[in-house]
């Protein structure tokens, strides 16, 4: 099992007891009600998955939580902070595309948040370097993103998000662009990384299996509303193939798919 990852917090904000709450959130974009009264609660260090079809409002919800956007109605709070700046200070977003900077090496990409927080480049690199080996990226420190495989790029992007050292991680389809095999590998990798470094996680995906494997609770979003809430009370420490064929797991999967409609 992995050891705790981030050695010294860069910007400790509200400790690690930061949860996410949303009440009656509505957002209209381009004349369409993308979100229509969403209630959400993610306890501190809890992991909530949100599944739904494309256009169900998943990414909009993440932007609202992150403080990058404001709701038209309702409230969003992160660790009790409702101001956009306060939310932004507590959330790190891993976008759908990896969004690595093509002009930076893999290590410099991972260290980006540390540099943004004011650390000199050499110090930022020194802090990010040990994680590279630990998270299976040894040897690729100096490669530019164009030379990395899709799976490696996603790992670097996650590492970058983690190194921002924020209490809340917002993951937007983190593995959406990958092939099925790499995707399965990275889901296990992510589960391990999060076990070593517990954070409050809000995971958005259209892959029900992924949500059930990585979250404690799964919410189904359809037409801007939460239409189902499922507690994932299935043991997941067995090998993946056994977990996903477990009857309890299959039943949750059926219920989620039915709710998605």
């Amino acid at each position: 099992m992995l050891q705790p990852i981030v050695e010294t917090p860069v910007a400790p904000l509200g400790g690690s007891d930061v949860g996410v709450d949303a009440g009656g959130v509505a957002r209209v974009l381009g004349g369409k009600r993308v979100l229509d009264g969403v209630d959400l609660h993610v306890p501190a260090r809890g992991r909530v998955g949100i599944v739904g079809r494309s256009g169900a409002g998943k990414s909009t919800l993440l932007s609202l939580v992150a403080g990058l956007d404001e709701p038209d109605a309702g409230t969003v709070s992160v660790g009790g902070e409702t101001s956009p700046a306060g939310r932004l200070a507590r959330c790190a977003l891993m976008p759908q595309r990896d969004c690595l900077l093509p002009w930076r090496s893999a290590l410099d990409n991972a260290a980006l948040a540390l540099e943004n927080a004011g650390l000199p480049r050499s110090e930022a690199r020194r802090r990010a370097a040990p994680l590279f080996a630990r998270l299976g990226l040894a040897g690729s420190e100096e490669l530019r993103p164009a030379k990395l495989s899709g799976g490696m790029r996603q790992r670097v992007a996650f590492l970058r998000t983690l190194l921002a050292d924020k209490p809340v991680l917002l993951l937007d389809e983190p593995f959406g662009a990958l092939d099925a095999i790499t995707r399965a590998e990275l889901q296990e990798w992510l589960a391990d990384a999060l076990a070593a470094e517990p954070r409050t996680v809000l995971l958005v995906t259209h892959d029900v299996e992924e949500a059930l494997l990585l979250s404690d609770r799964v919410l189904v979003l359809a037409a801007g509303r939460i239409v189902a809430e499922l507690d994932v009370d299935v043991a997941r420490n067995a090998p993946r193939r056994e977990v996903v064929t477990n009857p309890a797991f299959l039943e949750l999967r059926e219920r989620a798919l039915e709710a998605i409609g």
Partner: protein
């Protein structure tokens, strides 16, 4: 290097044709000199052309660097201030409609006959493509990268330094390469408006003397100077934008 062969072969063929036609039709040198006459002028007039080349090369390089510096500064100001962008950008476009040929004599009156008015003319000619491309490049940063930066402690300055500026470099270099081909023309305009040295001055002096071969020789050197500047800018781009996957290097 293999890409250099087709244009070189075409140039050689054209020069060969030119030589043949001029000799076959017996065109006098003062009307239209053969390439061989231009070549001998390059050798015979080297005492005149050599120092003139140094003068003009200095004007081109210094004027160009001046243009790059001012253009980048203005582009950054325009990028950070929407008010300035709305006010200044139309004025810049308008300023481009003033013919440089007319601007050069006015600058000579204002700044005298030294190197200064030449630098300003070169800079005025080169400034516009760089500033327009730089402003566009800075503004075309991927909004998703900016969102990502904002959630990773990225303030306005960090976003500029780490996302917008490096992302704009390819566009800045497109403008800089176009500008590099204008610099030589700017230097000649500057010299025509009033000077006592340089390739433009040599051309001006050779015209009434019907030394047409010398004019051609001077023009040839000007082209070579422009090409050298272009090559240097392209080289700088390869060094400064190494992540660009085999770009449009011409």
């Amino acid at each position: 290097m293999r890409r250099a062969w087709p244009p070189l072969a075409l140039l050689a063929a054209m020069v060969g044709m030119w030589e043949l036609i001029v000799r076959a039709v017996h065109v006098p040198d003062y009307l239209f000199p053969a390439p061989s006459a231009v070549a001998s002028s390059l050798a015979d007039d080297s005492g005149l052309l050599g120092p003139a080349t140094l003068v003009t090369a200095r004007e081109i390089v210094l004027g160009y660097l001046f243009a790059v510096a001012v253009a980048l500064l203005v582009a950054v100001l325009l990028h950070f201030s929407a008010v300035l962008r709305r006010a200044l950008l139309p004025v810049l476009v308008l300023s481009q409609t003033v013919p440089t040929v007319l601007l050069a004599p006015i600058l000579a009156i204002l700044l005298g006959y030294g190197i200064e008015p030449k630098l300003v003319v070169v800079a005025v000619v080169c400034f516009f493509p760089i500033v327009v491309n730089a402003v566009d490049g800075l503004r075309s940063a991927d909004p998703e990268l900016v969102r990502m930066m904002r959630t990773l402690h990225g303030g306005r300055l960090a976003i500029f330094r780490r996302v917008e500026l490096p992302g704009a470099l390819p566009a800045i270099f497109s403008g800089a390469r176009v500008a590099a081909t204008y610099a030589a023309v700017g230097a000649v305009f500057g010299e025509w408006a009033g000077s006592s040295a340089g390739l433009g001055f040599v051309i001006l002096q050779a015209q009434p003397a019907l030394e047409t071969a010398r004019i051609f020789a001077a023009v040839l050197i000007l082209s070579v100077l422009a090409l050298c500047l272009y090559a240097l800018v392209t080289l700088a781009e390869r060094v400064l934008v190494p992540w660009q996957p085999e770009a449009h290097h011409a």
